[in-house]
Symmetry: D3
Subunit: 321 residues, 6 copies
């Protein structure tokens, strides 16, 4: 049971449009806060998009996600889980990037997550572009490679861009495999689609044993069947969940930089997370939410709705869909 | 057969973007008009959102719905019904609320609908937030409780908000049951979803015998099966249909104040209404359309498309889907 | 194999947001260009909306489609087809209309397509409103009527508007049948829906033997079954493909002038094209994309994604979905 | 004194967002209405943009102007004039154009204004693109040429477009002079600016004696001085006032099709009208308001604010600024 | 000199888009915080719009203003004042209103400001609609009436709306005068404009000795001259500054509910505040910022820029323009 | 006199919305084009924003500027200059940056401009963020320092950001002075305003002899007086003109990343350029146009209107205002 200090403000007490917007109206507990050591799950912003090769914007993601998150209430409708009562949740603030220096930014992010890990906190990250996952994994998988369930329309397994640039949002998991942060046999990528430069990323996946489930297979088999396989691939070991909002069809999530049409709808976007119940989740992220391309804010609201689903499976109980 | 006075202007005669926008280009027949007594179905605006606990805006709904409704033509595509020829339809104008006084506004609305009822007109209302349904039911169900088919992502059955406030858009049907306006055994709520404060509303529903069909059940069973049950619950008696636009997934209907992701798509949004054919509908409403959150106007167009479906089932013939 | 002159610029060489935006980053080869004679498939803009009876805007379609098309990469994800390597593709520029004279504009368009046809180029057109298809067919079907697979929510088979106006975006295929450009027995219209003025267009279709597949039938039977019938209707003969973006549900494609709710989603929007593989396509168009009603640009991106699918079936290989 | 039938609805009685939106909440009195003969000043919509050579949209102007006009109250702040009490004002509805036939549309418009003129009503028109002024003048100046005060960033005096097209929104006043509808010696054009094709229009103006006041002169001399000259040019004779919203700087009025930067601000936009007091105004128009390019609606609100100023000078009393 | 605890986060240390957005990146010090007693100037949000008679939205103002305020840096460009170093500034959080009960909300607001006043904190409020000023003044002027410099396009001096409703955003200063909170002889209202219902508010002003400076006088005399008079009227006594964002021309500040065209530009909007230097300011507010009508966020940014100017004159030194 | 090859397409021949959008409808003449050597003035895009410290977006600037530039016609209204006839102008395409590597990007940009310089072409650049000016100056001022007239609300003279990062859009001119590319005594910065971190940039300016004209001085003295001084500072030597769109008030130019309120209006924005006539301009840029923050496109249109003014003073004749 959580400590009442960690309970969010209720919309019955203070309307949802009021107050300084922390993630899900949780207390703001940055590392220097006295209660930092008591946090079980920490929500963290990584406002960063220097790895973006096309349309920037995810650096503004955490703030918009915090704003939209004040619409989230206390209880999961389908499972009845009340995550904020189950464990101590808090908003740990943002990791400050250096917008003009990719390497420096990655160093800062890894340092922050090292501290999170040492404090025994499980991080739920709001990106940031997908390169964010790499410095996070450098902290979380420092000691041993982890498995990963990866929702995305892209593999993000490319070797490099623009004539040899190694760190972009199209390369994080190539690096993560090369650095021994991911166990490729325990990695599954779901929702892959869109026109392709070439097959270099898929060749790498095949060679390493990463399982790709393309969108046609996803639509043909359905959520339950695909996710059963995903759970099997991830297995019992430590598993990271990386959720790129462009997994969802861009009509449901226009606020992103590299949309690909023909993806899952918003109901499926939630269901795939519910099906993660039972995994050993050591961290999760919601990345590529880009407010400048989301004038109505719907993408951010979907993003935090998914983050709430992630939180519910992270607190341990299986969410019944 | 309707009187030609009540026929809408054709887009072949006058382009759809031209003319003063009444609902569906029908004649404007306020209560003081000489033909008021000849109206069978009256379209009425209730531009009001004082019951809104979060994001206001539905007070602007009727005007935007009127504007979008000029795109509606004369004949239902699937059933062939031509409602404006079947019965006398008219735009009865708006009920003027008092934006700064909830009780006064409810009194004004009930008074207007008393007059409608006395004239033998069946009302099709464009809200307004969901509190609108309460003063409408006070007129329509004055003599005896009615059944209700209620499309929504929320139950609107809460006891009170903000420490005892009884009249908000989250409480109308709690009040309606308490006041004997609804027969809870003949009430079905479809599409319920989203994070919850607590289960107080559901406990009330269970205690009173109101049937809740949550979104998971809706998606699992499908429209036809769910609606067959809904028809059975409503039965042969007088039935009110209340359609909150947030029943529909917010990607299809972003223009609303309390969206919940994972809902039905626009085709299902129409189909559920077609399945109401055969019920004894004594009134219907389309509420919570909020133009400030609908920059492209798509929500209003979906709203009036649903209103046209409601109109077609109200004129009596079963719409074949 | 295509000539490297005709290869698009890669996003790995030049970021997708850079450069003068031609269709799919192809070389710009207007008729006066020295390589014009080597083009196999030509992408052409027809920025024109004088036939629009309601909300204008498609005249701005080609430019926005070109802009969005820079997001398209070289290879089809599901089939592996690399169309730009298979045949010589190029951006042939726009046909300049006369915005204030419908007849003059049609003459200009037909003259341009006569030249295209004489050069042996298969055109893939970006409209423009749907009247665009008529002057295009006057060139392509000059010698013999063609079949047509037509995706739309409207039949565009009306006789006239506004008291006798023969050339609007609601009449092109009535004219095309009357002029002997289309073989009605080889025409299928898919996705028809929305409120109707009357049944005059459907009566004409029935009398001529045009097959209409309304949206209810489409949703009930599914893409594969419907498209199998469509292929059968079109048969082996020369076939034109006309794709009105309003075929797709307006939530997925809000940027259009005459939306009708309840349509296919974006995945179905792509799948129907993939199912055209094997037909003898002599030309195709994507029409009614209207940027003023598409603030986020999502409609244009869906439009070019569909154009890429069209291109892949036009280069001949069957796209495996 | 006006008849109380012609008084607008007060926002104290019915909130401004409520009710069917007629111009300035005036009664709707189309020609067939029994009180038509009692109208002094008629507000008329001409939803038409077939003369637009670049970005269409003004066909949607009258509806958006009506919507915004519900914000206008009863009394002029500076002069104290209460126009709706001074004379009988009414919304006469829209003239229905034929969107696909320019000549037919002009005939319809002139016929409508013939009727207006015969009824002794002074028209205040909401366009529509600037070609609208031509068929209006054909009715109003049928018997004798009128003078004109013309606010615009363009002269609209070109001979033709696109190789000989005579009727576009760039040619109305060339035609009006040629047809003897305007007395060029009594015409003044104010605010002219923007890049030019060539000087053909200015050459015509000079040859005919039309006075052009370019924006530099306007900014140098100021409103009072420029308008004193304008009043002198128009003199005592019958004068038409034509106000193209693109006279105003596009930051203040983005909703228009052919903006030119560097224009007057909104205060100057009102002041120039106040300085028309004392002229013999036989008609006025507000044209080129284009809602698709005005997402926030500010242009329409400025447009109706200017229309209210026009109305105040039309009722006769000089508005003291 | 301020305590370093109260210094805002620098954009050189943490980019401006990062971090939980408090007002001007100041520490969040709600009343229960241990440093509350050390605050000199408190920035407070009142997210409330129940007094709005037309277009709601200001309840969302404080959050958007906080977001935009992260763009504000440490030093005033013209005067060199560094307010956050001069005195202890903090974000005191929001007062939670009851969105469905006006009287309850006013009670809550006054109670909060009583506490502020007792703590010796000078409040700088971000509204909320203009009714907000009334409950604030009930706390600040409890002991003696204050003077007021009021920037607005409306007087907000009406007696009542909608048949007797006393508390709306059009009536706060009528109530404040009646309740003895304002000394009318020391009140000046600047920028008044727009169409009027009638002159009832002005008659009241005249009778009470409130000075109205209408927009024409403002534009004729200029900022310096007008503000010299304003300073003289306010005199040496305790003075409240109330700044309605609709004082500014709606092109510069579209995000508001009751715009009136023809107002000051953004430079004048700042200059009028700079000219307040030297007054004894006991509180100030920025009200009527309405995010739903401000899609680009420019109004909020102007609003916080003005709040920074207010802060600089509140810390005491005269800002040299 | 220019060669007709270099004449833009007329809107009388091809409507402005038609055609592939090059800058001002000029021919596209990349360095490999056979006519490259004949170009006098080259319009170049630098789609890059890696130096942006706050809100990214200018990488999309060149494309939107090209789109808006199709509205520009052939002749300057006030001066009568026809720049495209005076000298050979062309669109030279974009310099491809490396979005994930600042140093690599700067190298690419300088290389491109070296080539431009060697060909004797005077560049008119469309950025890109303000860091763009540095690699451009490295080419243009390689041999000798140049003077500069700099329109901006910021000095861009900071030493570094984020703990030592030397290359951001806040540091280009500090670097340029350090590298000997600018002669500080011949540099004038006009329009400086907005809240400040500190005075470090101004201290540097003062020490180096750079003249700063803050916005208050600008508004007090007026365009003519300020620009006379600016011309004197720049003198007869080679001068670069750098125009940051945030010089203009953000209401007129919202599409930018670091707006500061209270700036010049659009007329002044043009006038300051006209006053540059007579200077020896060796290059000019328009930077910081950021489409994601410019939903209506007005900023880009203002940007290209200013570019046209720059072009007119670059072709040599003095533009009479």
């Amino acid at each position: 049971m959580s400590d009442s200090f960690f309970h969010p403000v209720s919309g019955f007490d203070l309307p949802r449009f009021a107050g300084v917007p922390t993630f899900m109206r949780l207390p703001y507990v940055p590392p220097e806060h006295e209660r930092f050591g008591d946090v079980d799950i920490g929500l963290i912003g990584v406002p960063w998009d220097s790895g973006t090769t096309n349309r920037p914007g995810p650096r503004h993601g955490p703030r918009q996600l915090r704003d939209a998150s004040t619409m989230i209430r206390a209880q999961h409708q389908a499972s009845g889980i009340r995550p904020f009562e189950a464990v101590n949740c808090a908003d740990l603030g943002d990791v400050g990037p250096n917008p003009a220096d990719i390497i420096d930014s990655m160093t800062r992010i890894t340092a922050f997550y090292d501290r999170i890990k040492q404090a025994g906190i499980t991080p739920l990250t709001a990106g940031g572009d997908h390169l964010t996952s790499l410095p996070v994994l450098r902290a979380l998988a420092k000691d041993a490679p982890v498995g990963m369930v990866h929702f995305d329309s892209h593999t993000d397994l490319f070797h490099s861009y623009f004539g040899g640039t190694m760190y972009t949002h199209g390369t994080p998991f190539r690096r993560a495999v090369e650095e021994g942060l991911l166990d490729p046999k325990r990695v599954v990528q779901i929702g892959i689609r869109g026109t392709m430069y070439d097959s270099e990323d898929r060749d790498f996946a095949r060679a390493e044993g990463i399982r790709l489930i393309e969108i046609e297979e996803f639509h043909d088999r359905g959520v339950a069947d695909v996710m059963a396989e995903a759970r099997e691939i991830a297995g019992d070991g430590a598993t990271y969940v990386s959720y790129d909002i462009d997994f969802v069809d861009p009509t449901f999530a226009p606020g992103t930089g590299t949309p690909e049409v023909g993806g899952p709808n918003s109901y499926q976007a939630l269901q795939v997370v519910r099906e993660l119940a039972g995994l050993t989740i050591v961290g999760a992220d919601m990345v590529e939410v880009s407010p400048p391309f989301d004038p109505s804010g719907g993408t951010a609201f979907l993003g935090v709705s998914i983050m709430f689903e992630l939180l519910c499976v992270m607190v341990g109980g299986p969410a019944q869909g």
